[in-house]
């Protein structure tokens, strides 16, 4: 197991190197740099001045040299300087990541139990009235895009009923101003995971070993708990793990909508403003998150499914 994790960590590192190199070479292509230079000087710059600016900032050196310089700095924890915020990248990225982290935490802590419960309950008796009602609910919640549900919630719950605030201030969250963004993401996610869980549960409940357990004389409920649940959770577990990277970057819409300055917000503005070092740092963070969750997902999968563990 330890060897397995070490090997995966090694691949994780390699993947990161490759990906950061690709991102690096793409953001440092010449036209982009020229645009950056012009941006820095409010568009008033002669061609000659642009060249001098590029020379001065070291962008004229070979790509590999530039990349290894960036890499060396990044490995020691220095991710460069944000041209937009006029601050070191470290001071920009980590607080924003923390803000999004808080949002993700609340989203997941609500989504996972609720969606698994819905999925299991509707999947254990396929075709029953409860199943149909819950399935309709989950289809509706997943099919409404977040920018629609977000706006609807703002209008109804905030502007009209005045229950919550329509704007969430990062770094100073309260129940009042934080409920709506969480609710918007949670509702969408619940439907998605619940449907996955339901499908997996239905399949398990139709398996022959469930019949064996029932014909041992076990009651329906104890069969669900003892025999079905663990097998039924294998598929949704993978899906939940895939939610982490999706949430990190997918929250953009909700963060924009509620003006919550988190990671997604930062990523969009960095790309917008051609903020090279911030974009690179964001990329690295995203890659680390994707690969780590995948590692956890693999380990968890082996734990849930003994057939993987031993073969």
């Amino acid at each position: 197991m330890l060897v397995f994790i070490l090997k995966r960590l090694f691949t994780l590192f390699l993947t990161m190197l490759c990906l950061s190199f690709i991102v690096f070479s793409l953001v440092t292509i010449e036209p982009n740099l020229k645009k950056l230079a012009l941006n820095q000087a409010n568009m008033r710059m002669e061609e000659e001045a642009v060249q001098t600016w590029l020379e001065k900032n070291g962008y004229k050196r070979p790509l590999l040299v530039q990349y290894s310089e960036w890499l060396g700095n990044a490995l020691t924890g220095d991710f460069g300087y944000s041209t937009h915020f006029k601050k070191p990248v470290n001071d920009v990225v980590w607080p924003k990541l923390w803000h999004t982290g808080i949002l993700m935490f609340w989203v997941l802590i609500l989504t996972i139990p609720i969606s698994l419960l819905i999925g299991v309950i509707s999947g254990m008796r396929e075709g029953s009235k409860t199943d149909r009602a819950l399935s309709v609910f989950s289809i509706i919640t997943t099919s409404v895009p977040q920018y629609v549900s977000g706006i609807l919630f703002t209008i109804i719950l905030s502007s009209w009923l005045k229950l919550f605030k329509g704007v969430a201030k990062a770094g100073n969250i309260t129940f009042e101003n934080f409920t709506l963004p969480v609710l918007t993401i949670v509702l969408y996610d619940i439907g998605y995971i619940a449907r996955m869980t339901r499908a997996s549960m239905v399949e398990v409940m139709n398996a022959q070993y469930i019949r064996t357990a029932r014909l041992k004389g076990m009651s329906f409920i104890s069969v669900v708990f003892k025999h079905a649940l663990r097998n039924a959770l294998i598929a949704p577990f993978t899906v939940i793990m895939l939610q982490f990277p999706w949430l990190l970057t997918g929250v953009v819409i909700v963060e924009k909508l509620f003006n919550y300055k988190g990671f997604g917000f930062l990523l969009v503005s960095a790309a917008d403003q051609n903020d090279i070092d911030v974009t690179l740092a964001c990329g690295v963070v995203a890659v680390i998150l994707v690969l780590t969750t995948q590692l956890i997902s693999d380990i968890g999968y082996a734990f849930l499914n003994p057939r993987i563990r031993f073969s």
Binding site: Y209, L215, K216, G217, R230, N231, N305
Partner: protein, 683 residues
């Protein structure tokens, strides 16, 4: 008379679909007394499994008992509450299933799946349940019960899994055991062990049995009473010997005539298939359900009124549902249409010379570590196949018979040795590199007709495509013509060219498979268990068809099978394989009579025989097939051989003893010693 353990009266079960009600079981009656072993036989789809599940009152969401009663020890089960049912299930009535792998929970250890039964029903402590489970595992002859308790189902072999399921069923000492085709998914030698075990244990515990199977031989060996089902109703029932000796229903007779007996070959007792197929539940004919398929059908007698069960011998509980019981000459023998003594020629067509096939396996699949093992799938095979001969290759699963077929067809390359066909070594030429002539000369009929036809192309197009591939005909019209001839050849109507595979029955699909194999006029046809996926009544027709076509074109057939009765029926010569090596070769006569190789002897004794007059010696093989990754030293069979000589068989490779007429036995035991053994089957 004591109260019967189980009494079913006029049971009807229907499945409700959205549009209509499908009656699966109609007017079914049966009585199982204390200590009885009742066999329930019939083709798939006749409702026998539905009866078993109805007894458990577990018919799923859409199944419903629409009439009749099921009484367990005199109490009507329909009056039971859900709680009472749960109390009975698993403790009073237990069940053993067809597929052991699917019936065990893959994510739970064997121990937790076993101990929950007594804990649930007898409220005993965990420690006590554990102890009792260990005892039960010993009773079902599983070695090292402690290790097995901690294992997961996928770590055990099929036979071991089925023993676990049996242990689970017997843990609470049930008074009724339902067995739903418990050995269909297992090898013959494993099957023999399981059947023996169930028989002994149920006697020991005093359990009555309901044995659901399509295999008449198995029923004869295990049960004392039999009920034959056809299309949802009982057609004949009675004490087992009475029914087998005095059959009084054409369907029972048809079933028996469609299975080959290991003592008889195709000339002595030709197979007679039941024509037609089982009617769909909502298309049952008027009068006798079996009417349209019955050779004795008479319109005025059989298709007017519902036929009722009639007593034939009340003392022996023999009843039959036939309106012509007194009009049919039940003892009339059927005559063979085959020419006796058709001898295959002596020209050698295919010659296998020291053929070996190894597979390299990485020690660790994920990382491909350096430690590699080798699976020796075929070791030093030597045999010939003559023109127009049927050569059977038999052995348990994992003995390498399918690997050999793959090498022959060019799906795998031989590791060493030669496969000589028409003066060419084709062992190292894969199918992509073979010329059209060689490809069309060696064709295959596959085991599972359900998976080998493309579901989205019509049957005709698939045959035409094959013709194109083997280079028959130059225009579409010519190929269509040839396709029609092929359909005629496999006795299917020409209209079938437009049908999609899903519109065909299993037997018809296999006929298409045969048509494809014979499309390019092959010299060799490899038939890999061609009938094992089919119902008994259909099997006979497909076997007959294969033999007829083969004789017509003088094709050489390599018949791969684990079913020795079928092999005896079709084959001219037999190669017995064990763990990649040849144990015995010879003509069918030589293989089926002493001297035997000890393995052949065990294989023969494992075959269930549907003839009450034949007595056979029972030889049970201990243990499972060793892993081909790590085969035993010396003779590969020594770990399971009942007559292994220690110090010799487990260290030295056995010599190949050559007897007269090409009969070879690879064994340390002297031929004189082997010749002293009696025939496995005695009249």
């Amino acid at each position: 008379m004591s109260i019967p353990v189980l009494e079913i009266e006029n049971l009807s079960v229907s499945f409700m679909t959205r549009s209509t009600e499908v009656p699966a079981v109609m007017d079914f009656s049966m009585k199982v007394l204390e200590g009885d072993a009742m066999g329930l036989v019939g083709e798939s789809g006749c409702g026998k499994s539905t009866v078993a599940l109805a007894i458990m009152n577990y018919l799923g969401g859409n199944g419903k008992i629409t009439g009749g009663t099921i009484k367990y020890r005199g109490k009507d089960m329909s009056s039971f509450s859900e709680k009472e049912l749960e109390d009975i299930r698993g403790s009073e009535i237990a069940m053993i299933y067809q597929e052991p792998m699917a019936s065990l929970n893959p994510a739970m250890r064997i121990s937790s799946q076993l101990i929950e039964v007594p804990i649930l029903h007898e409220k005993i402590t965990k420690e006590e349940a554990w102890k009792r489970s260990i005892d039960m595992l010993e009773k079902v002859n599983l070695p090292d019960p402690e290790r097995i308790m901690n294992a997961f189902p996928h770590q055990l072999s099929g036979g071991q899994q089925q023993r676990i399921v049996i242990a689970m069923a017997l843990l609470s000492k049930p008074s009724l055991l339902l067995l739903d085709e418990p050995t269909t998914a297992l090898d013959v030698t494993v099957e023999a062990g399981i059947i023996n075990l169930v028989k002994n244990l149920s006697k020991e515990i005093g359990t009555s049995m309901l044995f659901v199977s399509h295999n008449l031989g198995l029923i004869l060996e295990t049960c004392n009473k039999i009920t034959v089902m056809y299309s949802g109703e009982t057609v004949e029932t009675g004490e087992i010997n009475e029914v087998f000796r005095n059959m009084r229903h054409p369907y029972t007779q048809g079933l028996l005539r469609s299975i080959p007996l290991p003592g008889k070959n195709k000339y002595e007792a030709p197979l007679r298939a039941i024509s037609g197929q089982l009617p769909l539940p909502h298309e049952r004919p008027q009068g006798c359900n079996f009417g349209p398929r019955c050779p004795y059908f008479e319109k005025e007698l059989c298709s007017v009124n519902e036929v009722q069960m009639q007593a034939i011998n009340s003392k022996k509980l023999h009843f039959s549902r036939c309106s012509k019981i007194n009009l049919i000459d039940w003892n009339k023998k059927i005559k063979s249409s085959k020419k006796v003594g058709r001898k295959p020629s002596n020209d050698i067509l295919l010659s296998i010379d020291h053929l070996s096939k190894d597979y390299d396996v990485a020690a660790n699949v994920v990382f491909g570590g350096k430690k590699k093992g080798t699976i020796k799938a075929n070791v030093d095979l030597n045999f010939d196949a003559k023109v127009a001969e049927t050569l059977a290759i038999v052995g348990e699963s994992g003995c390498g018979k399918s690997t050999f077929a793959k090498v022959l067809l060019g799906l795998e390359e031989a590791s060493s040795g030669r496969v000589d066909f028409e003066n060419k070594n084709i062992g190292e030429i894969t199918v992509e590199e073979r010329d059209k002539k060689t490809v069309s000369a060696i064709q295959m009929v596959f085991q599972n007709p359900f998976d080998t036809l493309n579901p989205s192309h019509s049957v005709g197009n698939q045959i035409i495509r094959t013709l194109e591939k083997v280079g028959v005909g130059s225009t579409v019209e010519e190929r269509r013509q040839r396709m029609h001839e092929l359909l005629d050849l496999v006795k299917l109507p020409r209209e079938f060219e437009k049908r999609m595979p899903r519109q065909l029955s299993g037997g018809q699909k296999q006929r298409i498979g045969i048509a494809r194999a014979f499309a390019g006029s092959p010299k060799i046809v490899v038939a890999d268990e061609p009938v094992s996926a089919l119902d008994v009544s259909v099997q006979a027709a497909v076997i007959e068809l294969l033999i007829d076509i083969q004789e017509k074109f003088d094709t050489t057939m390599l018949f791969i099978s684990h079913d020795l009765s079928v092999v005896r029926y079709v084959a001219d010569r037999v190669v017995v394989m064990y763990l990649g090596k040849i144990a015995e070769t010879g003509t069918t006569e030589q293989i089926f009579s002493p001297p035997y190789h000890p393995y052949t002897e065990a294989l023969l004794s494992a075959v269930p025989i549907a003839d009450p007059d034949i007595k056979k010696r029972q030889i049970l093989l201990e243990g499972a097939l060793p892993s081909p990754l790590n085969p035993p030293k010396g003779c590969v069979f020594n770990t399971r051989c009942p007559s292994a000589i220690s110090g010799k068989c487990d260290s030295i490779d056995p010599p190949i003893q050559k007897l007269k007429n090409g009969h070879t036995i690879s064994c340390h035991i002297d031929i004189k010693e082997l010749s002293k053994k009696d025939n496995v089957f005695a009249q």
